[in-house]
């Protein structure tokens, strides 16, 4: 059995930042493994540990910089990685769902996985759509926002829980092969062990271009054009409690007494 896990390196923005054009100034960005993908990797590695002969392959669309993040996934137990990047992708201002779908579908055609796990969304652009779009493109069944996953022994069915709104979960049986978009909380992502980190250094990260996948530069084109980025205007008239922590706490205590929710 082969599991393909999509791993995205996402940008995290510093508390104070500046916007340059239609993006956040690079100075204020830190890069990390997408939180949802961390859970997807863990889920794949747990399936690998529970089964016989399960290979876990990660795929990332991202520049050379992303290899540090990819090594984290390898250190947690993924067997090898594919990293797709080239000049066309580097120059693309935005990769929309369709572009990511086409690229990942080409990787699926090469790798022929039995199961694809993605995060529900990425915490930078948060489109939350690539997994389900990919499933439709490659003819796999799917389930979105999965917070419980058990593969049936026969290998033809998965029993999933989907986390709906309001504390309700849906139970569903899904035919395999399938794409599951994994929700946080489904498992406890491990920390990489020292041994894992050492082993990850020797694992393969296959640098792959669009041409390698049989795609041309048009695969990086997006029909969505970002025309502006700005900090949202706040309509709030928040009243701030000033001073040091002691003064703030005293003011806050007075406030809570005034509102009658605390006595004493």
């Amino acid at each position: 059995m082969k599991i393909l896990v999509t791993v995205k390196e996402v940008a995290e923005v510093a508390d104070d930042f500046e916007i340059a054009g239609t993006a956040i100034d690079e100075t204020y960005l830190d890069y990390d493994l997408n939180e949802w993908d961390d859970y997807a990797v863990e889920e794949a590695v747990q399936i690998q540990e529970a089964g016989d002969d399960v290979e876990v392959v990660t795929v990332t669309i991202g520049p050379g910089r992303a290899e540090e993040t990819i090594r984290m996934a390898l250190a947690k137990g993924a067997d090898r990685a594919i990293r797709v990047w080239d000049d066309a992708l580097d120059e693309a201002p935005l990769l929309d769902v369709e572009a990511k779908t086409d690229i990942l579908a080409a990787v699926v055609a090469e790798e022929e996985p039995d199961l694809v796990l993605t995060g529900v969304q990425a915490n930078d652009d948060a489109f939350g759509a690539t997994g389900v779009s990919l499933a439709d493109e490659i003819g796999f069944e799917w389930a979105a926002v999965v917070n419980g996953l058990a593969l049936d022994d026969g290998g033809e069915l998965a029993h999933v829980r989907r986390e709906l709104e309001g504390g309700v979960e849906e139970l569903a049986d899904v035919e395999l092969p399938a794409v599951f978009t994994i929700q946080t909380g489904i498992n406890e992502p491990r920390y990489a062990s020292l041994r894992g980190i050492r082993q990850a250094q020797r694992k393969e990260i296959a640098a792959t271009t669009l041409a390698d996948l049989g795609l041309d530069a048009s695969a990086a084109e997006s029909e969505l054009v970002v025309t502006a980025m700005y900090e949202p205007e706040t309509e709030s008239d928040t009243q701030y409690l000033e001073g040091d922590a002691g003064a703030q706490a005293t003011a806050l205590a007075d406030l809570l007494r005034e509102m009658g929710v605390v006595e004493g």
Binding site: V97, W142, L164, E165, G185, L241, L256
Partner: protein
Amino acid sequence: MTILAVAEHRRGELRDVSLELVTAGRELADAADAELHVAVVSGDVERYAESLDREGVDAIHTVAAGEEFNHDVYVQAVAQLVGELDPTYLLMPNTVDGLDYAPAVANRLDLPLVTDVIGLELDGGLTATREMYGSKVETTIEVEPPVAVTVRPAEWPAAEGVGDAEIQAFDADVDDSLVRSTVTGFEEAAAGDVDISEAEFIVSIGRGIEEEDNLPLIEALCEATGATMASSRPIVDNGWLPKSRQVGQSGKVVTPQVYLAIGISGAVQHVAGMKGADTIIAVNTDPNAPIFDLADYGVVGDLFDVVPALTDAFE
């Protein structure tokens, strides 16, 4: 020109987002001088259609197929409806179920997809507003129609009034061999010891607490003040508090007199569960945290200094 909005229901109830989609669709239809059509798939479609018949809806298409949401049925039915109506803009909800079918519909019909939009404007093409980086920034995105859009819940008001839409059954040709997943049941995951939705004073903690070992700090505050402890999602994901304590879209919706948010940034999923509180007080080190956009009172400071001092004030 036609705008098509797809309604959502669950366990016999039309969900609020459906009437919000009608409003968003009506605004686009007015701007484009277009017709607004609404589709409702599965369940008691005739009853749903009656509720969806609000002012400004021109036609409602009902697709009788099964009881509950099934994405394989939805994708087929919506794709066929789009084939028939050729809408310029296709609006779907940005909900857990919406994200379970909308991307597949867009892919199958080769439509560009913009998800989780909080604003829509017509200016030749469509300009959609959406957030990035956990609500820290907003972006505008231009896209040429036809286009598929998923609309964030609670951003548009529910449509009102009584309409005189033409309600018609759409005979979708659903191929059962393409239905490869089956809903077997629902479970209440958030049942627990305490019903936080009944609490009048909630102290809620988020990522800022950093470690499970720091929880006693908050427990002491709750004990000294009689507050009920709740949390944002990451605390429950980490297993530090039970699901019954989670406030937000996938947890509980609370409406206390006072909601004291400690170390919570205020992601939209959390806000969905607490914005109805009478008074919101936020403690956070980051002065730009989105939680301050809706807080009535703000404390910019370190919870590890402020919380013990606050507890002391009541002991």
